[in-house]
Symmetry: C2
Subunit: 442 residues, 2 copies
């Protein structure tokens, strides 16, 4: 078999066989297919797509490029969660302890961020002492004892995805449904959970700008999960504006703590309740979504999720005192504000631009090697639909380095669109897809 012939086959719109896809992944991982041939293949897949069988074979080949983690020693149905990405998305930090407090074990591997802000792992590292690189045994023991643990992926977790993602990232082949699905699902399946809840974001700050594309992506991921015998739910959510008020690593940790204290921004809290309710349903801790949601509302009210988070922080070497006193989290030295230049209603907050602004402040990585400044970021004072008066604050900017501050502030200011009429607000939760089908919320 020659990889050249497979490039031509896909380029010409033909279906690749299981054998051919296995060959492709194996040879690429073992450096017998050069990057310049693989990037041509990735671009051909971008244009010609893949059918559900091809996506299944690709996902499977990527799972088996490494080891599948064995979580069977943890009692109960382990439910994993993943988001296709949003700006200011700190859901996992609140969600994991909420779900664990309801008795569903969460053994989660989470990535570092590339782009606007850090990933969950970066955010957790703003808690002093918190270790994200534990051995597999320690990780499993914490889940057994506490109910939740979040660590960095082990190096043998779908290594094919790591290698392919790095190539896609520099060759314009990220936004391809078959490549997104196989990337996400291979990691989730290799991480060993029994069921999966996916947050598929749509809107200006997300991969899938259009609702219909997000729906398609969510549906294929449910199908792929089921193909592998894992019950999967995709929740389609609107990332038309950033989630919550905080964008930036330690700022988002603070906001997650607010949610766990039964406060926090309404949209972030709501998303945690929705995703959590499905996790409880799949994990057998609730009969259905409605029961799961009620259970989690009670948990937040009683503070058990908050205690669970402190327990998890302590078990992973972090200082639990910080969770009680979030003012101990790192905070940038300086703060400045941006103000509205006219009176009106916020029509739109462009997540993409806000993300780029946060990155300019140092909150995200431009390249893999870049250092993140965990203490910087943005706090929104207004959300879409808010009334704002001229000269009223739109956002606070926390910064250490004033070099790119002006550019960051300009981007931030231009992300707010202010108009005369109160806009119709798009709901956060748009649809949920499960084996039963699509349930639209809007």
């Amino acid at each position: 078999m020659r990889f050249y012939d497979l490039i031509i086959k896909k380029r010409d719109g033909q279906e690749l066989t299981k054998k051919e896809i296995n060959f492709m992944i194996k040879e690429y991982c073992e450096d017998r297919i050069p990057d310049y041939q693989m990037s041509a293949m990735l671009m051909a897949i971008y244009f010609q797509g893949m059918n559900i069988d091809e996506i299944k074979y690709l996902t499977m080949a990527m799972v088996h490029s490494g080891k599948i983690i064995d979580l069977s020693s943890i009692p109960g149905i382990k439910v994993d969660k993943h988001s296709t990405g949003g700006v200011g998305d700190t859901t996992t930090l609140a969600l994991a302890p909420m779900v664990a407090a309801a008795g569903v074990p969460v053994a989660k591997m989470s990535g570092r961020g590339l782009g606007h802000t850090g990933g969950t792992i970066d955010k957790l590292e703003s808690i002093k002492g918190f270790k994200t690189e534990l051995g597999l045994n320690k990780f499993i023991n914490i889940v057994k004892k506490v109910g939740a643990s979040i660590i960095s992926p082990t190096s043998d977790l779908a290594p094919a995805d790591k290698k392919l993602y790095a190539l896609r990232d520099v060759t314009g082949t990220i936004d391809s449904i078959p490549l997104i699905v196989s990337s996400i699902m291979s990691k989730k399946l290799a991480a060993g959970a029994d069921a999966i809840v996916l947050d598929v974001t749509t809107g200006s700050g997300a991969f899938m700008k259009e609702y219909k594309d997000a729906l398609k992506l969510g549906k294929i991921m449910v199908d792929i999960g089921l193909e592998f015998g894992k019950e999967t739910v995709s929740v389609i959510t609107n990332m038309g504006e950033p989630l919550g008020f905080a964008i930036g690593n330690s700022l988002e940790v603070k906001e997650a703590i607010e949610v766990l204290k039964n406060r926090g921004p309404e949209d972030l809290r709501d998303l945690c309740l929705v995703l959590g309710a499905y996790m409880l349903e799949l994990g057998g801790a609730a009969k259905n979504y409605e029961e799961g949601r009620k259970r989690l509302e009670k948990i937040l009210k009683e503070g058990t999720a908050f205690s669970k988070f402190k327990e998890m922080v302590a078990a992973q070497g972090g200082n639990p005192e910080i969770i009680d006193k979030p003012e101990l989290l790192p905070l940038a030295k300086h703060c400045t504000k941006i103000k509205a230049v006219i009176t009106g209603y916020i029509q739109k907050i462009d997540s993409q631009l806000i993300g780029e602004s946060a990155m300019l402040l140092g909150a995200g990585r431009e390249k893999k090697e870049s250092e993140i400044d965990l203490s910087v970021g943005i706090i929104l004072k207004k959300k879409v639909g808010s009334k704002v008066n001229i000269n009223e604050d739109l956002a606070e900017v926390y910064y250490n380095d004033s070099e790119k501050l002006k550019e960051a502030k300009n981007k931030l200011l231009s992300s707010f669109v202010i108009g005369d009429k109160k806009p119709k607000k798009i709901p956060l939760i748009l649809a949920a897809i499960s084996k039963e089908g699509v349930k639209e919320f809007r």
Copy 2:
């Protein structure tokens, strides 16, 4: 400017600017764009195409990646010729001396072959002593003195094309009209001729399998030539069967000599007359195509083209005696035949399969580094339309090494399709495209 953004732009079907295309070629040649990004771009161009402006800018950028050869010291209008490739195509060897004999100087750089058989340069090297790597001054002096010279391209002739072609060759991005046009035209324009005649082949042995695609390719090349102020004619020819009877390096030289002796296969002779007639017209040695053709028929009859070829061979260090006695050319040690298994008419001879058969014998290069055996090849005994009886010879196979002989013979046999009815023969010359428009011959 980031090359990543240009990949996305082309992927999304947008037009690249002159500045962007210049950046792409310059940075790639200077190794600041890695192959894995360029191959993604090439595949995006394959799918999205390029408009005439983009092709013009790409061609220009590739021309200027090296030096433009200055032929101004040679008196007269220098006319270059190029073929998009066919099996058994030895046209240049006969054509160059024919045109030179009519007083139009031919200063031609020609490539080595990758694929079925060698290129013109390889074929010429089967003439003992013939040197194809002359200095530029010597090359120009031979053209001044003899009227024709054929050498290998100098290393600074459109080096961007060399680098890009090597990448296209292994990434499934050869068959793209903008990439074919810019590759061919950049080399022709850098080679310094005043006018260009192109043989655009179509059929089973050619890049462009379909007549309409060949027509499109021919038209764009004429437009690009005119954009650069070089009058250009594209002749669309049928490569539905191999050209002439000989496939293989020294065998094809012998056949070219036959043409120069006013004999040789009808189709090869006809193609030389047609391409030559246009070269004479563009070179100012004939008022029009018809006059050019008559002039060349006379030249062949009088033997002046034959003498011109001997002069050129001698000037480039080859033994001119060989041209008088072609039996001195290298010939393989063994000969075997393949025979018809039924009686009937030849319906089709698949050029692609014949080419592959010749390559198995050692007549072509599979990889750049492969050695060519100049003495092996195939002589067809029948052409499309011929009557053949059972057990009658279809072809002779000249070979040295019997290792792949069986496979080569099987391919050769399967390339002949024999049927009951005499087939309608497709003419060799299908159309000619010039600044005046398209003239269809069929």
